[in-house]
Symmetry: none
Subunit: 259 residues, 2 copies
DNA sequence: TTAAAAATGTTATTATTTTAACATTATTAA
DNA sequence: TTAATAATGTTAAAATAATAACATTTTTAA
């Protein structure tokens, strides 16, 4: 026999399946318990990873949503910064203008960026990861250039000498680049050696360099250094970055955007 | 040209597609407009029946018309021959052996072939279409080489000079090739001029050439001729092919397999 | 049954969001 | 260009929701 509370939890889930999301007030009035009881129930459901709570209500989590919809996405180890990444990506998308030739890097933030690209202005997109390609290829307004090469499963990236040549011969107006480590003294780094050539080539050819990194990457150094922070024109991150980086950007003329 | 507001509306929908629901505050901060502007936008979207508004935020209606189809498969004009294509693909997959380096062509039959590839022997796959890549990239037993280039939406194919070089520098043991026209006198043809270089290069470098075509393609000639029938070592088709092709294969030493 | 524990309810305070009125800025058409 | 109009921004007051502390009820187990 289920406890009263467990029965309520089941009923909440059922109600959510009927209309998602719903409000604390609605649940409270329909189930004839106080809003505090509902809130405590929701806290439990949240702990069990079944719902998300927002100001005023709840939404049912679709746990398999990610896998079902996007089987080619990276299996993100750290989903902690997902909202920040999405916001950073959305901000970056505003930098894309009509007739731009943009080149985009690897990583989950960049995948979100690819998913945020405008659909109403003509652009050319150079990309070299499968996860981004899947979204970019849907754009009706984009020419797509994919410098191919050898496949790396962990990043879903392709790279080769020939691919580098394709990048070199198509100078981008803006490069949107990610990193797994950003350090004032040491520089900007990534996790895989094979990324180096592609990253540095993007940096060389692109007119404007935009770095997209969430704040969790700051003060870290990963195994492959590929740029100085001053090599970038724009840095987009979230408000969690250390203060010294704000000062650094100011004094070194890097446009800093925090979401 | 869309108005600023319409652009914002599109962007709001996009952000919702990334994370649903979302808050007025989040939208306002990411898009750098006041919350009142967002509220007015949301009112519009609500009027258009695209979203629901609740205290604090918005949720995307799941009947929304912005949901795009997944266009990673070719929109097969002729689904008549689908079963034949699948059977042809399955037969062809039996030709793949351990340590093989195979290169695979464009088209729906080849997509079925990619989906039929063995999962238990180590192979290297060279492919250059998005639809095949999506299946090949799931294989745990395959090294993948993707000669990149410019994207062609109708065939989901990529091609470029640099891609050709990658093909040349990785001679395949077997090439699995498709065609949209097979004609005894004229030869084997495809529908798009841009396929020519890639197809002829595959033919040149591969040790063994296998042609996969269903019987509906016989006696047809499409605009770009890329080979003679005698250039192939194996022809896999279905029992609907004209008799003269059977004789031809016999007299010209082409292994003919009908499913 | 009863005391202890757990669950639920009540209330006031705090935090957040909404609304509405008006100011400012951008866009449009003459 | 200017005047008119539309779009967006600002602000303060009103409405709603969240939190926390404590009261009450229900459940549990001796």
């Amino acid at each position: 026999m289920l406890s009263k509370q467990e029965k309520r939890l089941k009923r909440i889930i059922k109600m959510l399946q009927l209309s998602n999301p719903t409000t604390v007030n609605n649940l409270s009035s329909v189930m004839d318990v106080s809003h505090m009881t509902i809130r405590r129930d929701l806290d439990l459901l949240k702990e069990r990873n079944l719902v998300d709570i927002f100001h005023g209500g709840v939404i049912l989590k679709d746990n398999n949503k990610w896998k079902r919809q996007h089987p080619y996405s990276l299996s993100y180890a750290n989903k902690q910064m997902n909202q920040e990444k999405k916001n950073i990506a959305a901000k970056a998308a505003a930098f894309v203008e009509s007739e731009d030739i943009i080149i985009i890097d690897t990583g989950s933030t960049i995948e979100y960026f690819a998913r945020s690209l405008p659909e109403c202005i003509p652009i050319t997109v150079i990309c070299f990861t499968l996860n981004s390609l899947i979204y970019v290829s849907k754009l009706k307004n984009a020419n797509i250039i994919f410098p191919g090469g050898y496949f790396h499963e962990n990043t879903l990236m392709f790279e080769s000498k020939e691919g580098i040549k394709l990048i070199t011969s198509h100078p981008a107006t803006t490069a949107f680049i990610s990193a797994s480590g950003v350090n004032l003294e040491i520089g900007v780094s990534c996790s895989n050696k094979y990324e180096f050539k592609t990253k540095t080539e993007m940096m060389k050819t692109a007119d404007r360099k935009v770095l997209l990194v969430d704040s969790s990457k700051f003060n870290k150094v990963e195994n492959t250094l590929f740029a100085e922070l001053t090599d970038f024109d724009v840095l987009i991150s979230d408000t969690g970055i250390p203060d010294e980086y704000m000062d650094y950007c100011k004094t070194h003329g890097i446009e800093l955007i925090l979401v």
